[in-house]
């Protein structure tokens, strides 16, 4: 069995009576895109929270590159190589696109304790930021204020910021949401290439994108993984069809 880059082992999380995660064990192998799908309220956001460190599981553990990171804070997991994009854009809206990208590069460099030199004139930071912007196709918008970007462009910027860190694994929370079909298509192509660089745990509603991209799919319903498998396996799984795709078996 290949070494898993990112995995959860038996994690559980409850909010009062609500069991948002029930013994979830999923893994992300090198070079793959592993999609997590499920209806609204299935516990996808809670799962991501636990993987990225904003929530602590009640039990079970999270491992990144073979290391137990369950007790680590978000930023420590980020430093170990976890890149994340958000469902709702959480960029510095008043800042320019380039500034947001430089922030990502700064996080990768790990030393924000410089108070005098201009961050945007630091060659290393700038090159890293600009190449990330170029990869997502935002190089012409570097000086635009983030608040003025379109919804889809903000998604691209989210990905660019994550790229600056050259992460070992990505967690992407609905990167396609709000994108036009053209944008979705471009992003799909981009993610397709990206997987060779680092595997992607993709939470996504856009089924076309999921079926086009995913090597494996896990289906989450009521906090539980009811099935994991290849696209074809999931398509033909009776339980999934019933619980999620809404078709009578």
């Amino acid at each position: 069995m290949t070494e898993l880059v990112l995995e959860t082992q038996d994690i559980c999380k409850s909010f009062g009576a609500l069991r948002a995660s029930r013994n979830i064990s999923i893994g992300l192998k090198a070079g793959e895109i592993h999609a997590v799908i499920g209806p609204n309220g299935a516990g996808k956001t809670t799962l991501i929270g636990q993987i990225c460190g904003t929530l602590k599981p009640d039990s079970g553990s999270v491992r990144l590159l073979g290391e137990d990171v369950t007790q680590l804070a978000t930023r420590e997991r980020a430093r170990l190589g976890l890149g994340r994009t958000f469902q709702i854009s959480s960029l510095a809206m008043e800042d320019t696109v380039l500034q947001n990208a430089v922030l990502g590069a700064l996080g990768a460099a790990g030393n924000p304790w410089r108070f005098w030199q201009d961050a945007l004139k630091d060659r290393a930071l700038r090159e890293k930021a600009e190449s990330a912007l170029e990869r997502v196709g935002l190089q012409d918008h570097a000086r635009t204020r983030t608040a003025e970007l379109s919804h889809g462009q903000r998604r691209q910027l989210e990905v660019a910021v994550a790229l600056t860190k050259e992460p070992r694994a990505f967690v992407m929370d609905e990167p396609m949401a709000g994108m036009g079909s053209e944008g979705s298509k471009r992003l799909t192509e981009f993610l397709d290439e990206l997987r060779s660089e680092a595997p992607i745990l993709l939470v996504e509603h856009d089924m076309d994108a999921v079926f086009a991209l995913a090597d494996r799919i896990s289906v989450l319903v009521y906090g539980e993984v009811i099935a994991t498998g290849t696209v074809d396996e999931i398509r033909s799984d009776a339980a999934v069809r019933e619980a999620y795709l809404g078709e009578d078996a």
Partner: protein, 327 residues
């Protein structure tokens, strides 16, 4: 509408032209007023780093202003009475030298800001406002009953402290000193706002989770901002004490915190020159309105209300017609 850059240049120009005129017209009091404005500006620039860039609404910055003031008061008091500040663990003498006093003011207020910041940053929002206010009240009541240094009466220093090569008793020379410090602080803040630290802090205000996700600690960024902010406001406190040749617990009062905040908001939060314009405007208002009526606080209150309700972005925002500071 005026371009913000022109407005800033104009403001700095006023800080040179008004005292120059006052010197020629033999109006030394105008120079004193301008010194006051320059010092308030420094204090508010300090707050601007925490509040404007870091988003930390501190209603306790009077603590640092007061610590700076008492650093000057205590050191100069011991120098004036020829008694040591401390004999144990080693002998510390008082001093009348401004550079040493400033250094002490900056170090002590940074330490205080570090302690207060570490504790207060566990909270957010209104709770943060209130816990900083609580620390201010603690210092206020402590100094009121600190009998060694005059308690509520405060400490009078008969002669202004010295700076090598200058006659600080001459209003214009002391003013020059304050203006140079103001410019240095402005330069530092400008660099800071563009630096990697400033970039990260700015992002930590707008989207802390984003900063966390790129692998940085927003709380630590804010803490360091709070320390730098406290140090600058502390330096202003030391200068203010030297301007008045007097310190008292009033410097620690919550109204002082409120006033520092007013300078900032009057001018424009988060803008480099906001605190400078705000402090100048406040001192001018205080001077002119105070001359018009005993009840001038009413007019000041109404003016502040109008600015909050209709003039987001403070005076700079009004003049330049732009709401957002950054570009």
């Amino acid at each position: 509408m005026i371009r913000e850059t022109y407005l800033n240049t104009l403001t700095l120009g006023l800080f040179v032209l008004i005292p120059a005129w006052a010197l020629m017209a033999d109006e030394p009091f105008t120079i004193t007023l301008m010194t006051r404005a320059a010092i308030f500006a420094i204090a508010a620039i300090g707050l601007n780093i925490a509040l404007g860039i870091g988003g930390l609404v501190s209603l306790g910055h009077a603590v640092f202003f007061g610590i700076g003031g008492y650093a000057m008061g205590i050191l100069a008091y011991h120098a004036q009475t020829y008694t040591p500040v401390a004999e144990w663990p080693f002998l510390i003498d008082g001093t009348k030298s401004m550079p040493i006093i400033w250094l002490v003011a900056v170090i002590v207020s940074s330490l205080a800001a570090f302690v207060i910041g570490s504790l207060s940053l566990r909270t957010t929002g209104v709770y943060f406002i209130m816990i900083t206010l609580a620390f201010g009240q603690m210092f206020f009541f402590f100094t009121i009953s600190w009998a060694e240094y005059g308690g509520e009466d405060g400490l009078s220093i008969y002669l202004r402290n010295g700076f090598p090569g200058l006659n600080t008793l001459a209003p214009i020379q002391f003013y020059g000193l304050c203006l140079v410090i103001l410019c240095l602080v402005l330069l530092f803040t400008w660099r800071l706002s563009k630096s990697p630290f400033g970039l990260a802090l700015n992002a930590a205000r707008q989207a802390p989770i984003r900063v966390e996700t790129v692998g940085l600690d927003p709380t630590r960024l804010k803490l360091i901002a709070f320390v730098i902010s406290g140090a600058i406001t502390g330096l202003a406190g030391a200068l203010f004490a030297d301007l008045n040749r007097f310190v008292s617990p009033t410097m620690f009062s919550w109204q002082t915190s409120g006033e520092i905040m007013i300078f900032l908001i009057l001018g424009g939060v988060g803008r480099l020159y906001g605190p400078v314009i705000g402090a100048l405007a406040y001192v001018a208002l205080e001077h002119w309105l105070g001359g018009l009526s005993d009840y001038w606080h009413i007019y000041l209150g109404i003016l502040l209300l109008l600015i909050v309700l209709f003039g987001r972005g403070g005076l700079i925002g009004l003049a330049s017609g732009r709401k957002v500071a950054h570009d």
